[in-house]
């Protein structure tokens, strides 16, 4: 079950990258995640060796904890990116409004010249 889900996600990401719907920087991140996580899907006990060292009950809870932290970081990063993008589109719209006003003014003055 987890293995097939993982594989499907991997395929989806590769397909998105292939169709240029996903920027490389994000695609690479998700590919790395998929590659790191896929072996776990096949052998769920893989992390158990680690956990005894760290004092955590099972590999599964370590995995869940790490994924929550990771997803939280990703969500914060995306909010940050979208704030930046909003700022960029905002200044673009300002620029457009000013340019349109300038063009209207130019057109007006040209009309005044051609039709005395």
């Amino acid at each position: 079950m987890t293995a097939t889900t993982g594989l499907i996600m991997l395929v989806v990401i590769i397909e998105l990258l292939r169709r240029r719907q996903l920027r490389e920087k994000y695609g690479a991140l998700w590919l790395l995640v998929a590659i790191a996580v896929l072996p776990l899907a096949f052998v769920p006990t893989l992390l158990d060796g680690f956990t005894s060292v760290l004092g955590i009950a099972s590999g599964l809870s370590l995995f869940l904890f790490l994924s929550v932290v990771f997803l939280f970081l990703v969500a914060v990063h995306l909010s940050w990116e979208s704030s930046r993008l909003e700022e960029e589109t905002r200044s673009l719209s300002e620029e457009i409004a000013l340019l349109r006003a300038d063009v209207a003014e130019l057109q007006e003055s040209r009309e005044r010249v051609t039709t005395p």
Partner: protein
């Protein structure tokens, strides 16, 4: 006021086609020395064309940016067209253009002049949580600014010189940023702030946004806006 100073009155407008014509004409009548810029925040009605035929300069935003964004564009326009003094007003007719003269005169010894509604003139009153919020903001901002400010959320202001170009790139666009944040920023950058009393008129069109629930939200958001303004770089 020296006559060679160029003055721009900035009116951010959103769906104000009903009242904008009267507002522009009144400003022209009361204070002929100013150019008027209407920043049309992507209205769905005829605001832009009404304003243009009333004799104002108009810039139209391609999509709605909110009042802070519209004001910032106004300041940017003022910088790019070399204005010395910028006055910002609301386009709904609540601000009385008779006071522009006093505000511009007060700029002689201040960089930012705020037209305050509770400083003695006029009958404008608010109650409940909204009033507490305004009180709280006034107290906090008065101590920051080092001068008594009784109406920190007033959108009736005048500023000059460097502060215009400062606002053209720094004008905060988030909720209440256009009023609270701007005072903190101006003070922090070393500008002198002053207030003069103005009276407010009832709005000419549209409905005011006031209900107890909204007022509580207002209180909360203004507290947050103030805190953020204080900790910002």
């Amino acid at each position: 006021m020296a006559t060679d100073e160029r003055l721009l009155t900035i009116l951010p407008a959103w769906n104000e086609a009903e009242s904008i014509d009267a507002v522009i004409k009144e400003i022209h009548r009361e204070f002929p020395g100013t150019d008027i810029l209407v920043v049309d925040d992507c209205s769905r009605d005829a605001t832009a064309s009404v304003a243009r035929s009333a004799g104002a300069k108009v810039v139209r935003l391609p999509y709605n940016l909110g009042v802070g964004g519209a004001r910032r564009l106004g300041y940017r326009y003022a910088v790019e067209h070399g204005y010395d003094i910028a006055v910002q007003m609301d386009a709904d007719g609540q601000h009385d253009p008779r006071y522009i003269r006093d505000m511009v005169a007060a700029l002689a010894d201040a960089d930012l002049v705020i037209g305050a509604r509770f400083a003695g003139e006029g009958e404008y009153r608010v109650r409940g949580p909204r009033q507490w919020a305004m009180k709280l903001l006034s107290m906090a901002l008065s101590s920051i600014a080092g001068t008594r400010l009784t109406d920190t959320t007033s959108g009736f202001r005048a500023c000059r010189g460097e502060l215009i170009s400062f606002y053209s790139t720094n004008f905060p666009v988030e909720y209440l940023g256009d009023t609270v944040d701007t005072i903190v920023q101006a003070k922090r950058s070393g500008y002198v702030i002053k207030q003069i009393p103005v009276s407010m008129r009832p709005r000419q069109g549209g409905t005011p946004s006031a209900s107890p629930a909204k007022a509580m939200v207002y209180l909360f958001r203004s507290g947050l806006a103030l805190l953020l303004a204080l900790v910002r770089r």
